[in-house]
């Protein structure tokens, strides 16, 4: 088996973060001076439930190599139940992407609370590394958007 770690590859990671928990978690990791890769571009959403499957696909279209969705822990949703719906929706979406042969490790859902700055940084480090290993997104990319 050929081992290819794509060491030089800098993946573009899009992270959808809910306003109440995960975005605050990202903030906390910043104020705590924790490192997470600059590859991660955060998009703040009111609730993880706001993220519609189209957002995930569109991120891939515009050049993302991995998309991660962060929200409040189940039970802690600011809107009571938003993240429960997210969980079902994203499970089905990821399963469908897998069904179409898109690499599983390009997508992830992680629950990060406002107090978990360290978890946020660790998750982003880990996820970026996983996507780096996969290499550039080719199966779900829009060739027109590729930078020449």
């Amino acid at each position: 088996m050929q081992v290819n770690d794509n060491k030089d590859f800098q993946p573009l990671i899009v992270a959808f973060c809910c306003n109440w928990c995960s975005y605050a978690g990202a903030d906390l990791s910043g104020t705590n001076r924790l490192n997470y890769p600059t590859n991660v571009k955060i998009i703040r959403v009111p609730c993880s439930c706001r993220v519609n499957p189209m957002f995930i696909l569109r991120a891939f279209q515009r050049g993302a190599d991995g998309v991660i969705l962060c929200g409040c822990h189940p039970g802690d949703c600011h809107y009571t139940s938003g993240n429960y719906f997210t969980r079902r929706r994203m499970t089905l979406l990821f399963s469908m992407l897998d069904f179409l042969g898109i690499e599983r490790d390009r997508t992830r859902v992680e629950w990060v609370s406002a107090a978990e700055g360290a978890k946020f940084a660790a998750t982003m480090n880990e996820f970026t590394e996983a996507v780096r290993k996969l290499g550039p997104n080719r199966r779900l990319e829009d060739l027109r958007c590729r930078k020449q």
Partner: protein
């Protein structure tokens, strides 16, 4: 007439593809035929016609027109046009061959569409006479003889050999390029095959359909016909008929934002769609009835009105076979016709 034995077709295709790109209809796994770039070993489909029409070669479903690159305050305009390579489309049926004449009237009229013309100039159309027309065929309605197709060069099969003749200079050049493979042949058997095909054409269920009562001067009779409601009530508003049609030529031009520039492209449009010809004030055809009417009025009235009586249909029968609810131009003509 010059001929080549049918079991030497491989050699013929190899010879053509050695000098230019060759496209032939081949069978797909699901039984439908489609044009594919020839590679050694491919077998010519025996299907009557390809699922998608041959218009794709000259008028592709999507095509990039121009790129804009933005850097700061500057916009760079990039012309993406390239000289097309020479190519041959082999095995085009008579109906599709006629469709090019119709498309020419649209795209080669002033102002000439340079994208279309580029491909038209570089493409050689080699047609193939039909021997087994099917129930959905009605090319005869539009004066097309399936046993004597148009095109730059035409081929006829008598079951043993393939006969080739040129119709114009381009066709002659094509034949000259493969002349070493051809020999003179006796066409007696071929004439019998063609006569038989013409007999079959006469027996087809749609053989008696005529365009006598349609044309550019029938605008008011048909536009205001009370049949449109009934005809269009089950229309799903999908674009199947327009996208399999060899003569539908409406397109839309759109900008796609790539995040670092703009790609201006054109793509086929369908009059069946709710946003067809959408303008600043909105949509001129608000109901499916109006959109449905547009398609058939265009083919049977508006197009002949603007093109010396030429109809915008070639009777290939694709829409008859493919419409999800089986509503089609034949049913419309029969329901609408005022004798």
């Amino acid at each position: 007439m010059l001929k080549i034995s049918l079991d030497k077709l491989d050699k013929l295709f190899e010879a053509i593809s050695a000098s230019q790109t060759l496209y032939i209809p081949v069978d797909r796994e699901d039984g439908a035929a489609e044009y594919k770039k020839y590679e050694n070993g491919m077998k010519l489909s025996s299907a009557l016609n390809t699922l998608r029409s041959a218009k794709d070669f000259f008028f592709p479903q999507t095509e990039n027109l121009v790129d804009f690159k933005m850097e700061g305050q500057n916009i760079e305009v990039i012309d993406v046009r390239e000289e097309s390579e020479d190519f041959v489309i082999f095995g085009v049926r008579a109906c599709d061959a006629r469709s090019f004449t119709i498309l020419d009237k649209v795209f080669l009229a002033e102002p000439v569409d340079s994208y279309y013309k580029n491909r038209r100039d570089h493409g050689t159309v080699v047609t193939m006479a039909c021997t087994r027309p099917t129930e959905t065929c009605f090319c005869g309605t539009f004066g097309i003889d399936a046993a004597a197709p148009e095109g730059d060069a035409a081929c006829y099969s008598d079951g043993e050999s393939l006969f080739i003749e040129a119709h114009n200079e381009k066709g002659q050049k094509f034949i000259d390029s493969i002349s070493s493979l051809l020999e003179d042949g006796d066409t007696a058997k071929l004439e019998a095959v063609r006569a038989k095909t013409r007999e079959i054409l006469k027996k087809l269920p749609l053989a008696n359909l005529t365009t006598d009562n349609f044309g550019g001067d029938k605008l008011n009779e048909y536009f205001n016909s009370d049949k449109w409601g009934e005809l269009s009530e089950s229309c799903l508003g999908c674009g199947t008929c327009t996208f399999v049609c060899p003569t539908c030529q409406c397109y839309d031009i759109k900008d796609f934002n790539t995040g670092h520039g703009i790609k201006r492209f054109r793509c086929w449009d369908s009059c069946m769609y709710s946003d067809f010809t959408k303008m600043a004030h909105g949509n001129p055809r608000l109901t499916q009835l109006e959109r449905f009417r547009q398609r058939f009025m265009h083919k049977l009235v508006y197009f002949p009105a603007n093109n010396n009586g030429e109809f915008g249909c070639v009777g290939c029968g694709r829409c008859l076979a493919k419409c999800p609810i089986s509503m089609n131009i034949v049913k419309v003509m029969k329901a609408l016709e005022v004798k």
